[in-house]
């Protein structure tokens, strides 16, 4: 292993002691959330007169938040590992008997890296969006939603209890829904937004049930008390909490079996795909699992399930990404696959938590880089996404090409690009735990090499296969400068976090860390991984290097057809969930119309019909009334005579 010196020798257990009160610059934690929230409120409520400068407000709030976050990082780095966790209680939010929840924030090493990722990558994507959305009449609304997203995401990672986390969790879901469906006049975008929302609901139910179970078991939902008393709960309870949290993570992070929404989510504008559906929101599931490490450490079954889900998603995402001709959907498959890596690592326990977050950070940067480069390509190609219509774009958009190449080299894990460090550590950790998992991770790395090379070759190399009216051109500087910054991040972030930033030592107090010896020497393992990646690259070059047909070939393998259809996830969902629900709804409608309404209508008709007949007795003839009275009196007396008058 290259980084032996940086790995701390001893195992580290997570620190569960209460964090210190937020003083000094940390008293401004709330401002991190308040700034973008204020931006969102201003942009979404002021109306048309902020159209001209609204986007600048949106950018400014996130950039200031990023500056504040960097200042906090510097302050935090100056302190010892035990004194890096801060807590700020704003006010008491819910109190009912035993149940009390505060609006309180917790900023520790884990939250800190997330805050930095969200605000810095968020800032770059905001700046990029100025150029990308320049001609959109609804640009102000777009920035309002983006700000709303940043605020909700920061709330998610800064919350000090699960209930407040849930608020952020729903907030990012809302922002994701609004932004996928931003071009709501396109039926496909509206449908994609609805699909994402509905599938996310399934995961959200898991999170809400997990929170209820925590309250019932521990009497509290704050991280501190849940984690410190996690040892006292029964195994089955912890397993259930772990599985429910995994369900939540699977929904938000597009993990199997709730992955179907992510590919459709690419209907949103490309900066949204970069920020929400690549860098930040879809990694919230990984955050949730790593944050709940105290629970997963105690339940082997739930942790193993996490690994299995991660491995499955890692493979299917890579397979789907290999067959897509839509550049954004190919990247979405890649995102699924990479998050599968993180979930896998998170399921490995203390061996993997740190590297899950490490890969999350590097992936956040290089995938944002790849998406924004793809957006830049689309910007120059009349918003086309079909890679079969690209080709030879290297010459006309050098900066985009360079940025994409850096992202490409990072994601396939070529040293010294950042993906090499993070992905390699996950593969290593996987081998420490289980050889099959390790081999799957290496295999997925090979497929990554294949589909990324395919994407790179089809887009930038080879012959031009452009539409006749396409006039590709380089994007304006407001878009290329964020690309350059992210490209530098794709190059250097891995190494600098690993060697200079000591990411392992930084995160270990929160997540715990341990390393185990493995049979294969790490250098050999790294070499094998690299060779397999290069084999993937070589296959892709052989297949797509010379010529690419403009129409997708029809005579392809079963696997390719399956991958083009997203491995039939929609069909599966249709059979498993949509059809049964539809039939159940149809039955209930029938039951309501015929049985429930039928009973009500029948009784009404009976009363109406009977009264219609009975009222005929009121015929208006005095003598008939008199006859009735006489008969009545005779009957009464007759009855009295029969039963006796006593």
């Amino acid at each position: 292993m290259i980084g032996n010196g940086a790995i701390i020798a001893a195992d580290v257990a997570p620190i569960l002691e209460p964090s210190s009160a937020a003083t000094g610059i940390f008293a401004w934690i709330w401002l991190l959330i308040a700034l973008p929230l204020a931006g969102a409120i201003v942009l979404l409520t002021t109306g048309r007169w902020t159209n001209r400068f609204g986007h600048l407000i949106g950018v400014a709030t996130v950039v200031i938040a990023a500056g504040l976050a960097i200042a906090m990082l510097i302050e935090m780095m100056g302190r010892s590992a035990e004194a890096r966790s801060f807590e700020q209680t704003l006010y008491s939010w819910v109190f009912a008997g035993q149940f009390q929840v505060d609006v309180a924030f917790q900023l520790d090493q884990l939250s800190m890296v997330f805050v930095l990722l969200i605000t810095i990558v968020g800032s770059l994507i905001h700046i990029y969006s100025i150029g990308y959305m320049a001609h959109d009449p609804d640009r102000r609304r777009f920035f309002g939603f983006l700000n709303l997203f940043v605020a909700a995401m920061l709330l998610l990672v800064l919350a000090d209890n699960y209930l407040l986390l849930y608020v952020g969790w729903e907030g990012v879901g809302l922002a994701s829904f609004l932004l996928i469906g931003f071009w709501q006049y396109k039926p496909s975008a509206a449908a994609a937004a609805k699909k994402a929302f509905v599938i996310n609901r399934v995961g959200d139910v898991g999170l809400s049930l997990a929170i209820m179970l925590m309250f019932v078991t521990f009497g509290s939902v704050t991280f501190e008390s849940v984690f410190s008393s996690a040892g006292g709960a029964s195994d089955s309870t912890l397993t259930w909490i772990g599985l429910l949290l995994l369900l939540a993570a699977a929904g938000k992070s597009a993990q199997f079996p709730l992955q179907a929404w992510l590919l459709d989510a690419m209907e949103g504008p490309t900066p949204v795909s970069a920020l929400i559906h690549a860098a930040t929101m879809v990694t919230a599931g990984v955050y949730l699992i790593v944050r709940s490490n105290a629970i997963y450490d105690k339940t082997v079954f739930a942790a193993t399930t996490v690994v299995v889900i991660g491995v499955i998603t890692m493979i299917i995402g890579a397979v789907i990404g290999s067959a897509k001709d839509d550049i954004k959907k190919a990247l979405a498959g890649s995102t699924m696959s990479q998050i599968g890596y993180m979930v896998l690592a998170a399921g490995l326990g203390p061996v993997g938590y740190v590297f899950a977050i490490f890969h999350l950070l590097t992936h956040g940067v290089f995938k944002a880089n790849l998406f924004l480069s793809a957006g830049s390509v689309m910007h120059g190609m009349n918003n086309g996404v079909d890679m079969r219509r690209f080709g030879a774009l290297r010459a006309v958009m050098m900066i985009t090409f360079g940025a994409f190449m850096f992202g490409y080299l990072a994601i396939i894990g070529i040293p010294p690009f950042s993906g090499f460090y993070s992905k390699d550590k996950i593969i290593l950790a996987a081998f420490e735990q289980n050889t099959i998992v390790g081999i799957s991770a290496v295999l997925a790395a090979g497929i990554t090499g294949f589909y990324m090379t395919r994407m790179f070759t089809m887009t930038f190399l080879g012959k031009a296969r452009w539409d006749d009216d396409a006039h590709p051109h380089e994007s304006p500087p407001v878009m290329t400068i964020p690309l350059i910054v992210l490209a530098i991040g794709s190059l250097g972030l891995g190494a600098s976090l690993y060697y200079w930033g000591d990411i392992v030592e930084w995160l270990a107090p929160v997540t715990g860390y341990e390393s185990r010896p493995i049979a294969i020497p790490t250098t050999v393992l790294e070499a094998i991984t690299l060779v397999i990646v290069l084999i993937g690259v070589a296959i892709a070059v052989l297949m797509y290097g010379k010529s690419v047909p403009i129409e997708p070939p029809q005579k392809v393998s079963v696997l390719t057809i399956a991958a083009r259809n997203n491995l039939y996830d929609d069909a599966t969902n249709d059979i498993v969930a949509v059809r049964p629900t539809w039939y159940a709804a149809r039955f209930l409608v029938w039951f309501d119309n015929r049985i429930v309404d039928g009973a009500v209508n029948a009784s009404a008709a009976f009363v109406g019909g009977a009264s219609g007949r009975l009222r005929r007795l009121q015929n208006g003839f005095t003598r008939s009334y008199a006859l009735v009275m006489v008969i009545g009196v005779i009957v009464v007396f007759g009855v009295l005579a029969l039963v006796g008058l006593s």
């Binding site: 009222r615 005929r616 009121q618 015929n619 208006g620 003839f621 005095t622 003598r623 006489v630």
Partner: protein
């Protein structure tokens, strides 16, 4: 004389009155039949007062007379008013108050 005979007479008179109410169409005659029923009841009250040897029945008979007098006033007024508007004293004709 046996007081039971008065009771029988009262029953006969009441029955005649009731049949008159049911079968006659002229409102005046129906009205008379009602009076006959009332007086049959009065006769029964008086006869029972005699049998029981106290005055309760006779007191009630006076009450019935007073009420009957008041009822005659109202009833005849109605009959006269109906006759004025319809030129008829038939009891079957005014049958508008129905379903």
């Amino acid at each position: 004389m046996n007081p039971e005979n008065y009771i029988i007479l009262s029953g006969v008179l009441f029955t005649i009155g009731a049949i008159g109410v049911l079968v006659r169409r002229n409102a005046i005659v129906v009205f008379m039949s009602v009076e006959l029923m009332l007086n049959a009841a009065n006769l029964a009250f008086v006869a029972f007062a005699r049998i029981n040897g106290n005055l309760d029945g006779q007191v009630v008979a006076f009450f019935v007379m007073v009420v009957a007098a008041a009822e005659v006033v109202v009833g005849l007024a109605i009959i006269v008013t109906v006759f004025r508007s319809r030129r008829s004293a038939s009891i079957d004709e005014p049958n508008l108050l129905k379903y």
